[in-house]
Symmetry: C2
Subunit: 83 residues, 2 copies
Amino acid sequence: MVYDVGEKRVNKALKVGRRYLSWVQNSVFEGELSPALYQQLKADMGHLLDKTHDSVIFYTWRTERYSTREILGQERGTGDPFL
Amino acid sequence: MVYDVGEKRVNKALKVGRRYLSWVQNSVFEGELSPALYQQLKADMGHLLDKTHDSVIFYTWRTERYSTREILGQERGTGDPFL
């Protein structure tokens, strides 16, 4: 999940993100979710957004077999952005 | 590709990103690349990074059959972030 939201909503988005996923980078979350939890995450994010201004993209893949994840530089994903 | 780089390097990262991919959101790029271009993108990003501070994550998938992309709010991907 990657989001680009107005300054006033960044903390709320961070809180919702951490409820369901792991923080990996500024405005970027990752995690494994059941379909039901995924729907709930989308609903929670939908409630806090200003839909005329903010943007959230959800990338999902059913299997990791055909995908890779590579990092350059720092692995930030300590699970807590303020550590 | 998602990146979280120091203020001084944001423009450089944006320029490299746009050379290979489409801008879709703040610090988020998408696109289809050959393996060779993907290596080049990683090399170019690698050159501009401060590896002790910055972070870039590349998510790749060989087929879109097992993945989805959903947007809440604004679809920003006009290809030019300053439009």
